[in-house]
């Protein structure tokens, strides 16, 4: 059990909660082998309600639910009646009437999981809402750092790129702060929230300094729309001033790098570095399944047996 019966934002997670997830994730990581099924969610129905396109998060939750023996089904909004003008609340009631206990929700509007949780007796797990939060990404990122470094207190992590529009950044700043990690952000002026001073993060204007300061960097995906909407002058300038490349690793070979994917190679990250051993992008994906198994198991235990 966790301190809250749902996961809408990283604020719902205490330090104890996070370590419970880590412990359970480690258990699954150690005991899982192809063909092995756990019975944690036997008899529980999980709906993966993806109102916004996603590949890795949806697959990751789907596998996690299946490995826990849940009955799971999923839909993307393009294939649902939302495109026919059905409201979100009606969609929820329809799914609920079919007997669902856990909803994994992704939506392009911030706060949609909160809205759904207020209207259901089931459990809502936020799988990414607008520009608000992506708490399971933060769990898998911090789990990855935990596995890599063994200890999180006092670790230094710099988040580089588009902070303003990033739900990954919001969740990570919060979770890392909760875990006692020192966090810095490095971003051009138009891509930081105006009140970043109150986020309990250090601002490092220069990417080389950010790399030098940190034990690990989290590189965020830069959406091309940011340039079209006038927030960035040119892609070239962004990648020259905020991109991570080979020279950073030459100066600091033990630099650990995380990226939530999918990567825009050549913009925020050089393709040359993608197979460096400390570039943990694929490890993050692997860990994603185990941390989501852990979360589903801990939250879903009230329904099983």
């Amino acid at each position: 059990m966790l301190s809250k019966p749902y996961l809408l934002s990283s604020d719902d997670l205490t330090k104890e909660d996070i370590y419970k997830v880590f412990e359970k994730a480690s258990f699954f990581q150690e005991n899982y082998a192809p063909g092995v099924k756990f019975n944690d969610l036997k008899g529980v129905t999980v709906c993966l309600a993806f109102f916004e396109n996603s590949t890795r998060t949806k697959l990751s939750f789907e596998l996690a639910a299946k490995r826990l023996s849940a009955d799971s089904f999923s839909f993307q909004s393009s294939s649902s009646s939302l495109s026919k003008g059905e409201s979100l609340i009606d969609t929820l009631r329809t799914i609920e009437a079919m007997g669902v206990q856990i909803y994994v929700v992704r939506h392009n509007c911030s706060g949609s999981p909160n809205f759904l949780q207020q209207n259901t007796d089931g459990i809502v797990i936020n799988a990414g809402d607008g520009k608000h939060e992506h708490p399971t990404q933060a769990l898998l990122d911090s789990y990855t750092l935990y596995k890599k470094f063994g200890k999180l207190e006092g670790l230094k992590v710099a988040i580089v790129g588009d902070i303003l529009h990033s739900r990954v950044a919001r969740s990570n700043v919060n979770v890392l702060n909760t875990l006692g990690v020192e966090v810095a952000v490095c971003s051009p002026g138009t891509l930081v929230p105006r009140h970043i001073d109150n986020w309990k993060v250090k601002m490092i204007p220069n990417v080389d300094d950010a790399v030098e300061w940190s034990d690990a960097v989290m590189v965020l995906r830069l959406q091309r729309e940011r340039m079209e909407s006038g927030l960035l002058p040119t892609m070239r300038e962004f990648s020259n001033y905020y991109g991570i490349n080979k020279t950073h690793f030459e100066k600091k070979p033990d630099l650990v790098l995380l990226h939530p994917g999918p990567v825009n190679y050549g913009i925020e990250l050089d393709y040359d570095v993608s197979n460096y051993p400390n570039v943990l992008i694929e490890t993050q994906v692997t860990h994603g399944v185990f941390t989501r198994m852990a979360l589903l198991s801990l939250l879903g235990s009230r329904f099983s047996k």
């Binding site: 409201s87 911030s110 706060g111 949609s112 909160n114 809205f115 809402d129 607008g130 009140h195």
Partner: protein, 427 residues
């Protein structure tokens, strides 16, 4: 109608009136005011009014009744019922209907719908045709049909040259122009105040400066064009209040109003993503609320207006970012003002009556009802101390989008009297 209020407190700062008396109303006329007993026949309803106050009828210069065009949200009939139930005897409806109030035919249609009502319904017409911010509306004609002021409310007149022309055109008749002050480029896709919180909630913010830039520009234009009459609708930021205060000190003819929600509800409530907390301008910070209260006290803010903006449940019960802006306010306005201003010792009862009944009429050059024998009764009768809990299901507005549901408030309207009609408030 024959009704006697025994031992009621009569309060009207405009007449320097504050006394306890018996008040007899017969057929809509104040027939007798007496500190000694009044003998009445047995057809007269007698109300023991020791705890009640009678003031000039409340007046709200900023409401949306949605008719014509959006009758599923509110109609003139339901809007007037809501006004009467909140203690209001007069309102000014906004022009963002469909069709827009920008031609005499629409004004006459609304007048027809509103006649023989307890509530006196007046109209504001658009500054520009269809509220498009381009071509001026026929203001002279509209005023001759009874329009009391002009505004493109819901949107700003963003083009400075159009605003200049509007001031110049209005100058011939000294009309009042009001502005929904919003630099729309700065607020694109907003859903809440731009603050630390919206940064965290991942919502596109509405920065204070979007309001202040337009207020400052308009005051500069109004001064430049010969001290024109200008009114800021629903002012909401510390900076905007500062600009208005400085302008008033220079002697400009600028006035402004504030909504009850902008002096009672801080923006951190939005963390619940409850769409009944979504409006335009958005809820601001506690610091802005303090500034609203200071400005009410020192007279920078002239009046309280609700911006009553009904939306139906199916429109509001959606993702926060997709919900329309606006909340209903007529039936909670008096109680919220008494609770947050009078009972918190910020304003006296006389000041509340000035902000809610007297000043808005003076701004619009409408006669302020006087509580005197022989005058027709235009009164709000309320208990300033009764505590009650808001139940949105009891509201008479057609829409129930109030953020105050279940709030404990102190002060409650009891009777609304005007046009030889009496409404007993049910809340």
């Amino acid at each position: 109608m024959k009704i006697l209020f025994k031992n009621i407190r009569l309060l009207n700062p405009e007449q320097n009136l504050d006394k306890i008396a018996n008040l007899l109303i017969i057929d809509g006329i104040i027939s007798k005011i007496s500190e000694t007993d009044i003998q009445v026949d047995n057809e007269t309803e007698v109300v023991n009014a020791e705890n009640l106050i009678a003031s000039p009828g409340l007046f709200d210069m900023h409401v949306h009744f949605r008719e014509p065009g959006y009758e599923y949200k509110e109609t003139i009939e339901s809007g007037c019922k809501s006004a009467a139930n909140g203690g209001f005897t007069g309102v000014v409806v906004m022009p963002n209907t469909n069709p827009t109030i920008d031609k005499p035919e629409v004004v006459e249609y609304i007048k027809q719908k509103a006649k023989d009502n307890l509530v006196e319904l007046l109209q504001a017409a658009a500054i520009t045709q269809n509220r498009e911010g381009k071509q001026l509306s026929p203001m002279y004609e509209l005023a001759d049909h009874g329009v009391v002021y002009f505004t493109d409310d819901g949107t700003s007149v963003t083009d400075s040259n159009v605003m200049r022309r509007a001031f110049e055109y209005a100058s011939a008749k000294d009309f009042m122009l009001a502005q929904h002050a919003e630099d729309h480029k700065l607020t694109e896709n907003f859903s809440a105040n731009e603050s630390e919180l919206t940064g965290k909630l991942g919502l596109k913010g509405y920065p204070n400066v979007a309001e202040e830039i337009i207020v400052a520009r308009d005051i500069m234009l109004a001064e430049f064009l010969g001290n024109r009459r200008y009114h800021v609708s629903h002012i909401s930021t510390r900076g905007a209040v500062r600009i208005v205060r400085a302008a008033k000190a220079r002697g400009t003819r600028v006035t402004c109003e504030v909504t009850p929600h902008h002096f009672s509800l801080p923006d951190d409530l939005v963390a619940s993503y409850n769409s009944d907390l979504k409006m335009n301008p958005p809820l601001r910070t506690n610091d802005d609320i303090d500034a609203m209260i200071d400005a009410l006290k020192d007279g920078t803010i002239d009046c309280i207006a609700t911006d009553h903006a009904p939306h139906s449940l199916h429109e509001k019960n959606v993702e926060f970012e997709k919900a329309p802006c606006g909340i209903v306010g007529l039936e909670t306005s008096l109680a919220v003002s008494l609770t947050y201003l009078y009972h918190q010792n910020h304003l006296t009862l006389n000041q509340i009556i000035e902000k809610m009944a007297i000043n808005p009429r003076k701004l619009l050059r409408i006669e302020v009802p006087s509580i005197s024998e022989g005058n027709s009764a235009n009164l709000t009768i309320f208990n300033p101390n009764e505590e009650w809990s808001v139940n949105k299901e009891k509201l008479m507005t057609k829409s129930k989008n109030t953020p105050y549901n279940k709030y404990q408030l102190k002060g409650k309207p009891y009777f609304t009297i005007n046009n030889n009609k009496i409404h007993k408030c049910v809340l």
